[in-house]
Symmetry: C2
Subunit: 552 residues, 2 copies
Amino acid sequence: MANERLFYLPLGGAGEIGMNAYVYGYGPKGRERLILVDAGVTFPDAAATPGVDLIVPDFSWLVQRSKRVEGIFISHAHEDHLGAIGIICSKIDAPVYARPFTASIASRKLEEFGVSPSALRVVSPGSAETKAGPFSVTFLKAAHSVPEASGLLLKTPGGAILHTGDFKFDESPVIGESMTAETWKSSAGTGLKALVCDSTNSLQSRKGRSEASVGPEIQKLIDRATGMVVATTFASNVARIKQIAEAGRRADREVVLLGRALHRMLNAALESGVISGFPRTIDSYEAAKLSRKNVLVIATGSQGEPRAATMQLAVGKFHGIEVESGDILLYSSKTIPGNEKAVLRVINLMARKGVEVIDDSAEIYHVSGHPNEPDLEDLHRALNPECVIPMHGEHRHMLAHAKLANRSGINSLVAENGCLVEFRKRGPIIAEEVETGRAYLDGFELVEPGDSVVGDRRRIAQNGYVSVVLTGRGRKRVRFDAAVATVGLPAKDAEELELHLEEIALSEVGDKLPAPLNADEIKSAASRAVRREVSEIFGKKPVVAVKIVYRD
Amino acid sequence: MANERLFYLPLGGAGEIGMNAYVYGYGPKGRERLILVDAGVTFPDAAATPGVDLIVPDFSWLVQRSKRVEGIFISHAHEDHLGAIGIICSKIDAPVYARPFTASIASRKLEEFGVSPSALRVVSPGSAETKAGPFSVTFLKAAHSVPEASGLLLKTPGGAILHTGDFKFDESPVIGESMTAETWKSSAGTGLKALVCDSTNSLQSRKGRSEASVGPEIQKLIDRATGMVVATTFASNVARIKQIAEAGRRADREVVLLGRALHRMLNAALESGVISGFPRTIDSYEAAKLSRKNVLVIATGSQGEPRAATMQLAVGKFHGIEVESGDILLYSSKTIPGNEKAVLRVINLMARKGVEVIDDSAEIYHVSGHPNEPDLEDLHRALNPECVIPMHGEHRHMLAHAKLANRSGINSLVAENGCLVEFRKRGPIIAEEVETGRAYLDGFELVEPGDSVVGDRRRIAQNGYVSVVLTGRGRKRVRFDAAVATVGLPAKDAEELELHLEEIALSEVGDKLPAPLNADEIKSAASRAVRREVSEIFGKKPVVAVKIVYRD
């Protein structure tokens, strides 16, 4: 058994916040049996990846070894942990393990990709172990900002690893059970080979706060409100939504849920038994008939998403509801980096209507779902693993997290996506570097960042595009016609420009060329001439594509 | 004289941070003589306005009345106050007034647009008044984050207005003279008709801090550093750059300036006499030979700009300089909303190289150049104007600013871009709403947001583009050939796709149609068919342009 090894290989999530996907392997080198923990997505950037629908990990490494995959384990129901489950399950045939709420959300994702939900195995947390080849996996209850988050205890003949998933300490999490630094101690036992641990908030120096601390603040705000209150938060934060709704009911307000994601999440929470009931809600059109002081709207769109309910309310009437001067908009959420401008757009539109906006800057109406620096320190000490491997964080977060472990005298290793970490007697080392990356879901297709398609779109968005079709006729000497189409150029008269560029292209290639033609030469001559001309006229250098068609 | 009026009309900057441009008018209605205060730009967003170089105010209203424009006054040298001076001066023939440093920067902008710098009139602040039709304009010294910022006192027969420009209170501004709430009092006198006032920081509740408070903190940081120190800040903040350089020299470090904007700004400061000297600097290649602990680099790129020095250092060697583990990167700047992701990219690249990054979150290595809430209150009280008109701010900032004035018992009016505010006996009212907006500088051309060009680029970036050229032949019955070019579609084989779409287009239009042709019908049929086919294959709906060419 000397050549058996235990390894950890992040395919996503290590060096970024989002797109979590972690492989663990155990067995003889090259023949290890594998499990995947989480299959998350990250969201495209309209400037860097225009037209892309979702960004997912490049699973090629795992897909090439699909026969050795024993199971896929989903820690919780956030998109950055399960959004790619449909994609990976359409490529790998392995059971998917998740707790009920998570399974309910995952089931929809599988259907979207035409995968039968029969791959799903609903598991219970606690003592029950799931066998997956050499792995014995136990789901450990965790507090987080979504129901039924879990740490995963992975036992193998080579030792045990605790993969935390996303978690926070919370002695009063509103939904689910409380969690402290000691909660996992008895399950994890002593001699953990590694603690692979959430790094999102490793740069936050004060202790994390409880979900329950938010409710009374929201209650005070709603109690003092005289107009309608609109509260927005993450749809998956069922505990928060419940607290907001309860505060509204206590203040004698009818509660309206605006936005499909809210209904979807609440239904999943009810079906899976995460919550047994929810305060009474009414239809938005009914609410519109009531006095404003008797209405509380909970709306999607805390990140300024252009189609979500909050933005719709900022620009006009939505499902019968209209905000007006004297109303309050509460952000019970934080703004995720990159969304600042979109959120400010909503805030200013609301301010223009006279709506008082309570943003997240005071940090009293929102708490994070991740462990802060002191929380991480407490966990490190409670579990005292042989080493800490920071995951789920940008490089700066993982680095800070590693230093934190060292301060408690615990070994640590920063391993980014693609670093295969082997756990050896003397500690973990990066044994191999595996090619990883991202893939773009573009309509129905998965494309690689290296494929030209997204880069082409970025280039034509910056510079415009000219298509030149040269139609050649004649056997011995070829006579050309040109047809030019332009898009995205600042021409006052596009037709006139196209006629002009047709002349430019033709005069460059000459209209009677001896056969056989050197197509590449003609194309590049025409392309250069057209590009130069556009650049001289407009100061822009478009992408030019030349096509030669031959008709005799 | 009863029908003479005094008005204020923001064309940009009121309802946004950036793109400042304010018109004042005095005279008989419809024949008022006009001045423009500031001609600033705002920066495009690669997602919303791809390919756009700059965004400038729509000056049409002013250009239509150019004969009545008596002068253009530039308050200070920031891009959002003078970046559009070249554009407006290429359309309006009027003298441009600015203090020496500002004039030096403005001169370059004029040249870029082929305008002779002879339009520039360099003025001195203080008692000297500039006559511009019925306006007597005095430049009042202000502290800010760029040399020679100025408030403008505008005296007219209809009363005096103080237009603050950007300013802050600072009793030790490092460069230039100190400023308190009282500084402008004697010039402004009593009975100001209006204070038109900077609102950028109206939501910041604590008092603003002095530029001089930053120096000692930077000194401490540099003193404790053992490796190379790279400090990045705004190139126009000459006082900051001077403080950083001095701290470096005191710590026995040679100073290197990386980035062209830094050299440009320092030269302007030296030429205009804003500073009389600057600590010794050396060439970057010389510095590269020294011990790391003896080098301080001041670099452009505090906002994560991809081509600026800081990003270049994050990705590799730049002008001989290379960062490594043990070095420090200091952000002596704030991150402007919208730039968060770009800045985080630099921070993580630096962290990966082992560089310690000191960001602006502790707020000790940077101070703002704008007045905070208590500062505004002090100014309101010191000047006690008849009314406060908030400017330079998003709606939420202007609203908070207006409320602040009201709290001190001063009348206020929130007027966004396009609101023509008439100052009447009983107070200011919005007398007219003028059509305003933005224009995009796109290569050499100015295009309007309503023009299709930028929208087209955004659409093709999202969805891809298909150009279809149908070439018809025959007199009585027309036979078609099709040539299709695609870009930005996730096809494995673009040529094969194009052949397929040619067939689709032809089979839809039929290849023999009786003349005369209904071109619009043919185009829309072909376009629909191609779009539907692409949508079925790829799940994307491209922009399709069909062109009919007739060759007999």
